[in-house]
Protein backbone atom coordinates (compact mmCIF):
# COMPACT_ATOMS: atom_id res chain seq x y z
CA UNK A 1 0.00 0.00 0.00
CA UNK A 2 1.40 3.36 -0.94
CA UNK A 3 1.84 6.27 1.41
CA UNK A 4 -0.85 8.14 -0.51
CA UNK A 5 -3.46 5.39 -0.18
CA UNK A 6 -2.79 5.22 3.53
CA UNK A 7 -3.24 8.95 3.87
CA UNK A 8 -6.54 8.85 1.98
CA UNK A 9 -7.69 5.91 4.07
CA UNK A 10 -7.02 7.84 7.26
CA UNK A 11 -9.55 10.40 6.05
CA UNK A 12 -12.19 7.73 6.68
CA UNK A 13 -11.69 8.36 10.38
CA UNK A 14 -12.78 11.97 10.07
CA UNK A 15 -16.55 11.75 10.68
CA UNK A 16 -16.05 9.52 13.72
CA UNK A 17 -13.22 11.59 15.15
CA UNK A 18 -15.15 14.80 14.60
CA UNK A 19 -18.05 13.41 16.64
CA UNK A 20 -15.71 12.25 19.40
CA UNK A 21 -14.02 15.65 19.42
CA UNK A 22 -17.30 17.56 19.80
CA UNK A 23 -19.15 15.25 22.18
CA UNK A 24 -16.38 13.61 24.21
CA UNK A 25 -13.03 15.43 24.10
CA UNK A 26 -14.28 19.01 24.18
CA UNK A 27 -16.85 18.24 26.93
CA UNK A 28 -14.13 16.57 28.96
CA UNK A 29 -11.99 19.72 29.00
CA UNK A 30 -15.01 21.98 29.35
CA UNK A 31 -15.96 19.83 32.36
CA UNK A 32 -12.59 20.54 33.93
CA UNK A 33 -13.17 24.27 33.44
CA UNK A 34 -16.69 24.09 34.91
CA UNK A 35 -15.34 22.16 37.88
CA UNK A 36 -13.51 25.32 38.99
CA UNK A 37 -16.68 27.45 38.93
CA UNK A 38 -19.75 27.89 41.09
CA UNK A 39 -22.05 27.65 38.04
CA UNK A 40 -25.57 26.44 38.86
CA UNK A 41 -26.12 24.91 35.43
CA UNK A 42 -28.44 27.38 33.76
CA UNK A 43 -27.80 31.04 34.70
CA UNK A 44 -25.19 32.77 32.50
CA UNK A 45 -23.29 34.32 35.41
CA UNK A 46 -20.85 32.41 37.58
CA UNK A 47 -17.37 32.90 38.95
CA UNK A 48 -14.25 30.84 39.39
CA UNK A 49 -13.89 29.42 42.88
CA UNK A 50 -10.55 27.62 42.63
CA UNK A 51 -10.50 24.19 44.21
CA UNK A 52 -13.63 24.76 46.33
CA UNK A 53 -15.60 22.04 44.52
CA UNK A 54 -12.72 19.60 44.97
CA UNK A 55 -12.54 20.39 48.67
CA UNK A 56 -16.27 19.78 48.93
CA UNK A 57 -15.57 16.23 47.77
CA UNK A 58 -13.61 15.59 50.97
CA UNK A 59 -16.35 16.84 53.27
CA UNK A 60 -19.32 15.47 51.31
CA UNK A 61 -21.09 13.07 53.72
CA UNK A 62 -22.50 11.05 50.82
CA UNK A 63 -19.38 10.67 48.72
CA UNK A 64 -17.86 7.62 50.39
CA UNK A 65 -21.10 5.64 50.27
CA UNK A 66 -21.69 6.66 46.66
CA UNK A 67 -18.17 5.60 45.72
CA UNK A 68 -18.44 2.31 47.59
CA UNK A 69 -21.83 1.58 46.01
CA UNK A 70 -20.37 2.13 42.54
CA UNK A 71 -17.66 -0.44 43.32
CA UNK A 72 -20.30 -2.86 44.63
CA UNK A 73 -22.43 -2.40 41.51
CA UNK A 74 -19.42 -2.86 39.26
CA UNK A 75 -17.74 -5.84 40.87
CA UNK A 76 -20.79 -7.42 42.49
CA UNK A 77 -22.67 -7.60 39.21
CA UNK A 78 -19.59 -8.74 37.31
CA UNK A 79 -18.89 -11.58 39.73
CA UNK A 80 -22.50 -12.79 39.91
CA UNK A 81 -23.16 -12.46 36.19
CA UNK A 82 -20.07 -14.42 35.22
CA UNK A 83 -20.38 -17.18 37.79
CA UNK A 84 -24.09 -17.68 37.14
CA UNK A 85 -23.62 -17.15 33.39
CA UNK A 86 -20.91 -19.83 33.36
CA UNK A 87 -23.16 -22.20 35.29
CA UNK A 88 -26.04 -21.62 32.90
CA UNK A 89 -23.81 -22.03 29.85
CA UNK A 90 -22.36 -25.32 31.12
CA UNK A 91 -25.88 -26.47 31.97
CA UNK A 92 -27.16 -25.62 28.52
CA UNK A 93 -24.18 -27.00 26.61
CA UNK A 94 -25.81 -30.43 26.53
CA UNK A 95 -28.90 -31.26 24.50
CA UNK A 96 -32.17 -31.55 26.37
CA UNK A 97 -35.74 -30.56 25.73
CA UNK A 98 -36.63 -26.98 26.61
CA UNK A 99 -33.08 -25.74 26.14
CA UNK A 100 -34.03 -23.29 23.39
CA UNK A 101 -36.91 -21.87 25.41
CA UNK A 102 -34.70 -21.51 28.47
CA UNK A 103 -32.05 -19.64 26.52
CA UNK A 104 -34.64 -17.28 25.05
CA UNK A 105 -36.31 -16.58 28.40
CA UNK A 106 -33.03 -15.93 30.22
CA UNK A 107 -31.79 -13.65 27.44
CA UNK A 108 -35.07 -11.76 26.96
CA UNK A 109 -34.67 -9.30 29.89
CA UNK A 110 -31.34 -8.12 28.46
CA UNK A 111 -33.28 -6.72 25.50
CA UNK A 112 -35.76 -4.79 27.62
CA UNK A 113 -34.96 -1.26 28.76
CA UNK A 114 -33.26 -1.46 32.17
CA UNK A 115 -35.50 1.37 33.36
CA UNK A 116 -38.62 -0.61 32.50
CA UNK A 117 -37.18 -3.81 34.01
CA UNK A 118 -36.55 -1.80 37.17
CA UNK A 119 -40.18 -0.69 37.18
CA UNK A 120 -41.33 -4.27 36.65
CA UNK A 121 -39.31 -5.31 39.70
CA UNK A 122 -40.93 -2.49 41.65
CA UNK A 123 -44.14 -4.55 41.63
CA UNK A 124 -42.20 -7.39 43.20
CA UNK A 125 -40.42 -5.42 45.93
CA UNK A 126 -43.11 -2.81 46.66
CA UNK A 127 -44.02 -2.53 50.35
CA UNK A 128 -47.80 -2.62 50.23
CA UNK A 129 -49.12 -5.26 47.90
CA UNK A 130 -45.70 -6.19 46.50
CA UNK A 131 -45.48 -9.74 45.20
CA UNK A 132 -42.61 -10.68 47.49
CA UNK A 133 -44.44 -9.41 50.58
CA UNK A 134 -47.47 -11.48 49.62
CA UNK A 135 -45.24 -14.54 49.81
CA UNK A 136 -43.92 -13.37 53.19
CA UNK A 137 -47.49 -13.04 54.48
CA UNK A 138 -48.44 -16.40 53.01
CA UNK A 139 -45.77 -18.11 55.06
CA UNK A 140 -46.81 -16.26 58.21
CA UNK A 141 -44.08 -13.68 58.04
CA UNK A 142 -44.25 -9.91 58.25
CA UNK A 143 -44.22 -7.42 55.43
CA UNK A 144 -40.76 -6.07 54.75
CA UNK A 145 -40.04 -2.64 53.29
CA UNK A 146 -37.43 -4.12 50.96
CA UNK A 147 -36.14 -0.89 49.49
CA UNK A 148 -35.93 1.07 52.74
CA UNK A 149 -32.62 -0.17 54.16
CA UNK A 150 -29.59 1.17 52.21
CA UNK A 151 -27.42 -1.97 52.21
CA UNK A 152 -30.35 -4.16 51.24
CA UNK A 153 -31.39 -1.82 48.45
CA UNK A 154 -27.89 -2.04 46.96
CA UNK A 155 -28.04 -5.85 47.15
CA UNK A 156 -31.46 -5.89 45.51
CA UNK A 157 -30.25 -3.64 42.70
CA UNK A 158 -27.22 -5.90 42.15
CA UNK A 159 -29.52 -8.93 41.99
CA UNK A 160 -32.00 -7.24 39.65
CA UNK A 161 -29.21 -6.13 37.31
CA UNK A 162 -27.63 -9.58 37.44
CA UNK A 163 -30.90 -11.34 36.62
CA UNK A 164 -31.45 -8.96 33.74
CA UNK A 165 -28.03 -9.35 32.15
CA UNK A 166 -26.85 -12.83 33.12
CA UNK A 167 -28.12 -13.92 29.71
CA UNK A 168 -25.39 -11.90 28.05
CA UNK A 169 -22.59 -13.78 29.86
CA UNK A 170 -24.44 -17.04 29.24
CA UNK A 171 -24.67 -16.45 25.49
CA UNK A 172 -21.01 -15.43 25.26
CA UNK A 173 -19.89 -18.53 27.20
CA UNK A 174 -22.16 -20.82 25.21
CA UNK A 175 -20.62 -19.57 21.97
CA UNK A 176 -17.18 -20.06 23.52
CA UNK A 177 -18.02 -23.61 24.61
CA UNK A 178 -19.23 -24.49 21.15
CA UNK A 179 -15.92 -23.29 19.72
CA UNK A 180 -13.90 -25.78 21.78
CA UNK A 181 -12.83 -28.58 19.43
CA UNK A 182 -14.38 -31.90 20.47
CA UNK A 183 -11.02 -33.68 20.15
CA UNK A 184 -9.67 -31.96 23.26
CA UNK A 185 -12.49 -33.13 25.49
CA UNK A 186 -12.48 -36.57 23.85
CA UNK A 187 -8.75 -36.98 24.40
CA UNK A 188 -9.09 -35.91 28.02
CA UNK A 189 -11.99 -38.29 28.42
CA UNK A 190 -9.91 -41.21 27.14
CA UNK A 191 -7.14 -40.23 29.54
CA UNK A 192 -9.69 -40.61 32.33
CA UNK A 193 -10.00 -36.94 33.32
CA UNK A 194 -13.01 -36.36 35.58
CA UNK A 195 -15.59 -33.65 35.05
CA UNK A 196 -13.91 -31.18 37.42
CA UNK A 197 -10.52 -31.78 35.81
CA UNK A 198 -12.13 -31.32 32.42
CA UNK A 199 -13.48 -27.93 33.47
CA UNK A 200 -10.32 -26.84 35.27
CA UNK A 201 -7.76 -27.87 32.66
CA UNK A 202 -9.63 -27.88 29.35
CA UNK A 203 -12.81 -25.83 29.33
CA UNK A 204 -11.77 -22.97 31.57
CA UNK A 205 -8.44 -22.11 29.91
CA UNK A 206 -9.97 -22.37 26.45
CA UNK A 207 -12.84 -20.12 27.53
CA UNK A 208 -10.44 -17.45 28.80
CA UNK A 209 -10.92 -15.08 25.82
CA UNK A 210 -14.70 -15.29 26.25
CA UNK A 211 -14.34 -14.73 29.99
CA UNK A 212 -12.21 -11.63 29.39
CA UNK A 213 -14.82 -10.16 27.03
CA UNK A 214 -17.66 -10.95 29.37
CA UNK A 215 -15.93 -9.60 32.47
CA UNK A 216 -14.98 -6.32 30.80
CA UNK A 217 -18.45 -5.91 29.33
CA UNK A 218 -20.18 -6.56 32.66
CA UNK A 219 -17.75 -4.42 34.61
CA UNK A 220 -18.24 -1.41 32.36
CA UNK A 221 -22.00 -1.95 32.52
CA UNK A 222 -22.05 -2.32 36.31
CA UNK A 223 -19.88 0.71 36.98
CA UNK A 224 -22.12 2.81 34.69
CA UNK A 225 -25.34 1.53 36.32
CA UNK A 226 -27.98 4.26 36.26
CA UNK A 227 -31.41 3.28 34.93
CA UNK A 228 -32.20 0.50 37.41
CA UNK A 229 -31.14 2.63 40.36
CA UNK A 230 -33.35 5.45 39.14
CA UNK A 231 -36.26 3.06 38.60
CA UNK A 232 -36.12 1.55 42.08
CA UNK A 233 -35.07 4.53 44.23
CA UNK A 234 -35.71 8.30 44.26
CA UNK A 235 -32.85 10.50 42.98
CA UNK A 236 -31.75 11.65 46.46
CA UNK A 237 -28.53 10.04 47.81
CA UNK A 238 -30.22 9.66 51.21
CA UNK A 239 -31.60 6.30 50.00
CA UNK A 240 -28.05 5.00 50.37
CA UNK A 241 -28.20 3.29 46.99
CA UNK A 242 -26.84 6.09 44.78
CA UNK A 243 -23.94 5.40 42.44
CA UNK A 244 -21.51 7.96 41.03
CA UNK A 245 -23.72 8.31 37.93
CA UNK A 246 -26.97 8.93 39.79
CA UNK A 247 -25.29 11.15 42.39
CA UNK A 248 -23.63 13.45 39.89
CA UNK A 249 -26.88 13.90 37.97
CA UNK A 250 -28.62 14.60 41.26
CA UNK A 251 -26.08 17.32 42.10
CA UNK A 252 -26.60 18.80 38.64
CA UNK A 253 -30.36 18.51 38.09
CA UNK A 254 -31.74 18.60 41.65
CA UNK A 255 -29.25 20.61 43.71
CA UNK A 256 -28.11 22.76 40.77
CA UNK A 257 -24.44 22.55 41.59
CA UNK A 258 -23.05 22.12 38.08
CA UNK A 259 -19.48 22.83 39.24
CA UNK A 260 -19.55 20.12 41.88
CA UNK A 261 -21.32 17.75 39.50
CA UNK A 262 -18.46 18.31 37.03
CA UNK A 263 -15.96 17.32 39.75
CA UNK A 264 -17.92 14.12 40.42
CA UNK A 265 -17.95 13.55 36.66
CA UNK A 266 -14.17 13.80 36.47
CA UNK A 267 -13.82 11.39 39.40
CA UNK A 268 -16.18 8.94 37.67
CA UNK A 269 -14.43 9.31 34.33
CA UNK A 270 -10.94 8.75 35.73
CA UNK A 271 -11.99 6.01 38.16
CA UNK A 272 -13.77 3.93 35.52
CA UNK A 273 -10.95 4.33 33.00
CA UNK A 274 -8.40 3.15 35.58
CA UNK A 275 -10.49 0.22 36.84
CA UNK A 276 -11.41 -1.00 33.34
CA UNK A 277 -7.86 -0.73 32.06
CA UNK A 278 -6.39 -2.50 35.09
CA UNK A 279 -8.93 -5.30 34.74
CA UNK A 280 -8.23 -5.60 31.04
CA UNK A 281 -4.48 -5.68 31.63
CA UNK A 282 -4.90 -8.31 34.35
CA UNK A 283 -7.01 -10.56 32.13
CA UNK A 284 -4.78 -10.15 29.10
CA UNK A 285 -1.84 -11.29 31.20
CA UNK A 286 -3.76 -14.29 32.54
CA UNK A 287 -4.81 -15.21 29.05
CA UNK A 288 -1.22 -15.06 27.83
CA UNK A 289 -0.07 -17.27 30.72
CA UNK A 290 -2.67 -19.90 30.02
CA UNK A 291 -1.98 -20.26 26.31
Amino acid sequence: MTQRTRAIMNLFYLPALLLFAVFVVYPFFEGIRISFTNWNGYLPNYRYVGFANYRRLLTDPYFSSVFWNTILYGFGCTLLQNVLGMGLALFMDTKFRGRGVLRAVVYLPAMIAPLIMGYVMFFVFQFSGGALNDIMLLFGGERVDWLAVPGRTVTIIVIVNTLQYVGVAMVIFLAGLQNIPAMYTEAAHIDGVGSWGMFRYITFPLLMPAITSSVILNLIGGLKLFDIIRALTPPSPSTGAASLSTYLTYQYANVERAGYSAVLGIVTFVFILIVSNLTMWFFDRREAQML
Binding site: F23, A104, L115, V120, G129, I220, S261
Partner: protein, 272 residues
Protein backbone atom coordinates in the same frame (compact mmCIF):
# COMPACT_ATOMS: atom_id res chain seq x y z
CA UNK B 1 -36.91 -42.17 26.02
CA UNK B 2 -38.25 -43.02 29.43
CA UNK B 3 -34.80 -43.78 30.82
CA UNK B 4 -33.49 -40.54 29.33
CA UNK B 5 -36.25 -38.66 31.13
CA UNK B 6 -35.38 -40.41 34.36
CA UNK B 7 -31.69 -39.70 34.04
CA UNK B 8 -32.34 -36.09 33.19
CA UNK B 9 -34.99 -35.33 35.82
CA UNK B 10 -32.81 -32.77 37.58
CA UNK B 11 -32.28 -30.93 34.30
CA UNK B 12 -36.01 -30.56 33.81
CA UNK B 13 -36.49 -29.52 37.41
CA UNK B 14 -33.79 -26.86 37.12
CA UNK B 15 -35.13 -25.68 33.76
CA UNK B 16 -38.62 -25.27 35.18
CA UNK B 17 -37.28 -23.45 38.27
CA UNK B 18 -35.29 -20.96 36.18
CA UNK B 19 -38.23 -20.43 33.83
CA UNK B 20 -40.53 -19.69 36.77
CA UNK B 21 -38.04 -17.27 38.29
CA UNK B 22 -37.70 -15.40 35.01
CA UNK B 23 -41.33 -15.38 34.02
CA UNK B 24 -42.73 -14.43 37.45
CA UNK B 25 -42.04 -10.67 37.15
CA UNK B 26 -43.76 -10.55 33.76
CA UNK B 27 -46.67 -12.61 35.07
CA UNK B 28 -47.07 -10.14 37.93
CA UNK B 29 -46.83 -7.16 35.57
CA UNK B 30 -49.54 -8.59 33.31
CA UNK B 31 -51.76 -9.29 36.31
CA UNK B 32 -51.50 -5.73 37.62
CA UNK B 33 -51.98 -4.23 34.16
CA UNK B 34 -55.31 -6.00 33.68
CA UNK B 35 -56.66 -5.50 37.20
CA UNK B 36 -59.27 -3.00 38.37
CA UNK B 37 -57.70 -0.48 40.77
CA UNK B 38 -60.39 -1.44 43.29
CA UNK B 39 -59.37 -5.12 43.19
CA UNK B 40 -57.56 -5.90 46.46
CA UNK B 41 -56.40 -9.40 45.46
CA UNK B 42 -52.77 -10.50 45.63
CA UNK B 43 -50.28 -9.71 42.87
CA UNK B 44 -50.02 -13.45 42.28
CA UNK B 45 -53.65 -13.81 41.25
CA UNK B 46 -54.69 -12.99 37.71
CA UNK B 47 -58.04 -11.21 37.35
CA UNK B 48 -60.92 -13.42 36.19
CA UNK B 49 -62.50 -10.55 34.26
CA UNK B 50 -61.46 -8.41 31.32
CA UNK B 51 -60.60 -4.82 32.19
CA UNK B 52 -58.78 -2.55 29.76
CA UNK B 53 -59.11 0.88 31.36
CA UNK B 54 -55.51 0.80 32.59
CA UNK B 55 -54.37 0.60 29.00
CA UNK B 56 -56.72 3.41 28.02
CA UNK B 57 -55.16 5.53 30.79
CA UNK B 58 -51.68 4.55 29.67
CA UNK B 59 -52.47 5.57 26.10
CA UNK B 60 -53.75 8.93 27.34
CA UNK B 61 -50.16 9.55 28.41
CA UNK B 62 -47.23 9.90 26.03
CA UNK B 63 -46.76 6.20 25.24
CA UNK B 64 -47.57 6.36 21.53
CA UNK B 65 -45.66 9.61 21.20
CA UNK B 66 -42.72 8.00 22.99
CA UNK B 67 -42.77 5.00 20.68
CA UNK B 68 -42.84 7.29 17.66
CA UNK B 69 -39.97 9.33 19.09
CA UNK B 70 -37.87 6.30 19.96
CA UNK B 71 -38.52 4.81 16.53
CA UNK B 72 -37.37 7.96 14.71
CA UNK B 73 -34.36 8.34 16.99
CA UNK B 74 -33.40 4.67 16.70
CA UNK B 75 -33.73 4.46 12.91
CA UNK B 76 -31.70 7.63 12.31
CA UNK B 77 -29.05 6.73 14.90
CA UNK B 78 -28.59 3.18 13.64
CA UNK B 79 -28.27 4.26 9.99
CA UNK B 80 -25.56 6.73 10.93
CA UNK B 81 -23.87 4.31 13.34
CA UNK B 82 -23.59 1.83 10.45
CA UNK B 83 -22.24 4.33 7.90
CA UNK B 84 -19.79 6.22 10.09
CA UNK B 85 -18.72 3.04 11.92
CA UNK B 86 -18.01 0.98 8.80
CA UNK B 87 -16.10 3.86 7.25
CA UNK B 88 -13.85 4.33 10.29
CA UNK B 89 -13.39 0.58 10.69
CA UNK B 90 -11.76 0.21 7.28
CA UNK B 91 -8.47 2.02 7.98
CA UNK B 92 -8.50 0.63 11.53
CA UNK B 93 -8.54 -2.93 10.18
CA UNK B 94 -6.16 -2.37 7.27
CA UNK B 95 -3.44 0.06 8.31
CA UNK B 96 -0.95 -1.17 10.83
CA UNK B 97 0.55 2.04 12.14
CA UNK B 98 1.20 4.02 15.30
CA UNK B 99 -1.74 6.29 14.47
CA UNK B 100 -4.00 3.28 14.34
CA UNK B 101 -2.87 2.01 17.70
CA UNK B 102 -3.62 5.42 19.18
CA UNK B 103 -7.04 5.56 17.50
CA UNK B 104 -7.88 2.07 18.77
CA UNK B 105 -6.93 2.96 22.34
CA UNK B 106 -8.87 6.18 22.17
CA UNK B 107 -12.02 4.47 20.86
CA UNK B 108 -11.74 1.84 23.58
CA UNK B 109 -11.56 4.66 26.11
CA UNK B 110 -14.75 6.23 24.72
CA UNK B 111 -16.43 2.85 25.05
CA UNK B 112 -15.57 2.63 28.75
CA UNK B 113 -16.38 6.14 29.84
CA UNK B 114 -19.94 6.67 31.08
CA UNK B 115 -21.47 9.52 29.08
CA UNK B 116 -23.15 10.81 32.22
CA UNK B 117 -19.74 11.66 33.68
CA UNK B 118 -19.56 14.52 31.17
CA UNK B 119 -23.26 15.34 31.36
CA UNK B 120 -22.82 18.97 32.45
CA UNK B 121 -20.58 20.01 29.53
CA UNK B 122 -22.50 17.81 27.05
CA UNK B 123 -25.64 19.68 28.00
CA UNK B 124 -23.82 22.98 27.35
CA UNK B 125 -22.69 21.76 23.92
CA UNK B 126 -26.26 20.70 23.15
CA UNK B 127 -27.50 24.17 24.05
CA UNK B 128 -24.98 25.77 21.71
CA UNK B 129 -26.04 23.60 18.76
CA UNK B 130 -29.74 23.97 19.69
CA UNK B 131 -29.99 20.24 20.22
CA UNK B 132 -32.10 20.34 23.40
CA UNK B 133 -35.51 18.72 22.91
CA UNK B 134 -34.73 17.75 19.32
CA UNK B 135 -34.44 14.41 17.60
CA UNK B 136 -31.08 15.32 16.07
CA UNK B 137 -29.66 16.15 19.49
CA UNK B 138 -30.54 12.66 20.68
CA UNK B 139 -29.29 11.08 17.47
CA UNK B 140 -25.91 12.83 17.66
CA UNK B 141 -25.34 11.67 21.25
CA UNK B 142 -26.46 8.08 20.70
CA UNK B 143 -24.40 7.98 17.50
CA UNK B 144 -21.26 9.20 19.26
CA UNK B 145 -21.49 6.79 22.16
CA UNK B 146 -22.53 3.74 20.12
CA UNK B 147 -19.86 4.32 17.46
CA UNK B 148 -17.02 2.53 19.31
CA UNK B 149 -18.96 -0.73 19.38
CA UNK B 150 -19.85 -0.44 15.71
CA UNK B 151 -16.26 0.41 14.72
CA UNK B 152 -14.87 -2.57 16.66
CA UNK B 153 -17.35 -5.09 15.29
CA UNK B 154 -16.76 -3.88 11.73
CA UNK B 155 -12.99 -3.74 12.06
CA UNK B 156 -12.81 -7.27 13.48
CA UNK B 157 -14.87 -8.45 10.54
CA UNK B 158 -12.95 -6.51 7.89
CA UNK B 159 -9.67 -7.87 9.31
CA UNK B 160 -10.92 -11.35 8.35
CA UNK B 161 -11.45 -10.33 4.69
CA UNK B 162 -8.29 -11.20 2.70
CA UNK B 163 -6.24 -8.12 1.82
CA UNK B 164 -5.57 -9.70 -1.59
CA UNK B 165 -8.97 -8.43 -2.63
CA UNK B 166 -8.08 -4.83 -1.78
CA UNK B 167 -4.73 -5.18 -3.52
CA UNK B 168 -6.31 -6.52 -6.69
CA UNK B 169 -8.70 -3.58 -6.72
CA UNK B 170 -5.76 -1.25 -6.10
CA UNK B 171 -3.89 -2.66 -9.10
CA UNK B 172 -7.01 -2.22 -11.20
CA UNK B 173 -6.80 1.47 -10.36
CA UNK B 174 -9.41 1.75 -7.63
CA UNK B 175 -8.75 4.39 -4.97
CA UNK B 176 -9.34 3.47 -1.33
CA UNK B 177 -12.85 4.87 -1.42
CA UNK B 178 -13.86 2.89 -4.52
CA UNK B 179 -12.26 -0.21 -2.99
CA UNK B 180 -14.22 0.30 0.20
CA UNK B 181 -17.52 0.84 -1.63
CA UNK B 182 -17.22 -1.93 -4.21
CA UNK B 183 -15.09 -4.58 -2.46
CA UNK B 184 -15.58 -4.26 1.31
CA UNK B 185 -19.08 -2.86 1.72
CA UNK B 186 -20.92 -5.67 -0.11
CA UNK B 187 -19.39 -8.22 2.27
CA UNK B 188 -20.51 -6.46 5.42
CA UNK B 189 -24.19 -7.45 5.24
CA UNK B 190 -24.24 -10.21 7.90
CA UNK B 191 -22.23 -8.23 10.43
CA UNK B 192 -24.31 -5.12 9.71
CA UNK B 193 -27.34 -7.00 11.01
CA UNK B 194 -25.48 -7.55 14.26
CA UNK B 195 -24.44 -3.91 14.55
CA UNK B 196 -27.97 -2.73 13.78
CA UNK B 197 -29.60 -5.03 16.33
CA UNK B 198 -27.09 -4.40 19.09
CA UNK B 199 -26.95 -0.62 18.83
CA UNK B 200 -30.64 -0.40 17.91
CA UNK B 201 -31.63 -2.07 21.18
CA UNK B 202 -29.48 0.40 23.13
CA UNK B 203 -30.92 3.40 21.28
CA UNK B 204 -34.51 2.22 21.72
CA UNK B 205 -33.95 1.56 25.42
CA UNK B 206 -32.06 4.77 26.13
CA UNK B 207 -33.05 6.67 29.22
CA UNK B 208 -29.97 8.59 30.38
CA UNK B 209 -29.86 10.88 27.35
CA UNK B 210 -33.59 11.32 26.82
CA UNK B 211 -34.05 12.19 30.50
CA UNK B 212 -31.81 15.23 30.15
CA UNK B 213 -32.05 16.13 26.46
CA UNK B 214 -35.80 15.76 25.82
CA UNK B 215 -37.12 18.53 28.05
CA UNK B 216 -40.27 19.58 26.18
CA UNK B 217 -43.35 17.40 26.67
CA UNK B 218 -43.98 17.25 22.90
CA UNK B 219 -40.99 15.01 22.20
CA UNK B 220 -40.58 11.83 24.22
CA UNK B 221 -38.88 8.45 24.15
CA UNK B 222 -40.49 5.19 25.25
CA UNK B 223 -38.63 5.13 28.56
CA UNK B 224 -39.49 8.75 29.27
CA UNK B 225 -43.17 8.10 28.54
CA UNK B 226 -43.23 5.07 30.85
CA UNK B 227 -41.37 6.95 33.59
CA UNK B 228 -44.13 9.62 33.55
CA UNK B 229 -46.45 7.08 35.14
CA UNK B 230 -44.04 6.09 37.86
CA UNK B 231 -43.06 9.66 38.67
CA UNK B 232 -46.62 11.03 39.07
CA UNK B 233 -46.68 9.56 42.58
CA UNK B 234 -47.66 5.93 42.83
CA UNK B 235 -51.37 6.81 42.88
CA UNK B 236 -52.15 4.68 39.87
CA UNK B 237 -49.79 1.71 39.78
CA UNK B 238 -52.30 -0.08 37.54
CA UNK B 239 -51.97 2.39 34.68
CA UNK B 240 -48.22 2.42 35.32
CA UNK B 241 -48.11 -1.36 34.89
CA UNK B 242 -50.07 -1.09 31.66
CA UNK B 243 -47.66 1.60 30.44
CA UNK B 244 -44.62 -0.54 31.34
CA UNK B 245 -46.15 -3.52 29.56
CA UNK B 246 -46.82 -1.47 26.42
CA UNK B 247 -43.30 -0.06 26.64
CA UNK B 248 -41.56 -3.42 26.73
CA UNK B 249 -43.83 -5.24 24.30
CA UNK B 250 -42.37 -4.07 20.94
CA UNK B 251 -38.79 -5.10 21.74
CA UNK B 252 -39.86 -8.34 23.44
CA UNK B 253 -41.90 -9.39 20.40
CA UNK B 254 -39.11 -8.41 18.03
CA UNK B 255 -36.63 -10.42 20.08
CA UNK B 256 -38.81 -13.52 20.14
CA UNK B 257 -39.23 -13.29 16.34
CA UNK B 258 -35.58 -12.64 15.51
CA UNK B 259 -33.97 -14.49 18.44
CA UNK B 260 -31.12 -16.05 16.46
CA UNK B 261 -30.02 -12.72 15.01
CA UNK B 262 -30.16 -11.01 18.39
CA UNK B 263 -27.97 -13.66 19.98
CA UNK B 264 -25.55 -13.71 17.05
CA UNK B 265 -25.23 -9.95 17.40
CA UNK B 266 -24.22 -10.27 21.02
CA UNK B 267 -21.68 -12.97 20.25
CA UNK B 268 -20.21 -10.96 17.34
CA UNK B 269 -19.63 -8.02 19.64
CA UNK B 270 -17.94 -10.03 22.37
CA UNK B 271 -15.74 -12.54 20.61
CA UNK B 272 -12.73 -11.26 18.77
Amino acid sequence: MKTAMKKNWWRYLLTVAILLLYLAPFYILIGVAFKMPSDPSSRWILPNYIYLDNFAKALEGRILQGMQGSLIITLCSVSLIICVGALAAYPLARNKSKLNKAVRGFILGVMMVPPLSILVPIYSVMKVINGISTYYGMVLLLLTFQLPLSIFIYSNFIASIPTALDEAACIDGCGPFRTFISIILPQLAPVTASVAILTGVTCWNDYQFSLYILQKPQIASVTLAVSDFFAQTSSNVFAAAAAALLGLLPIAVLFLLLQKHFIKGMVDSAIK
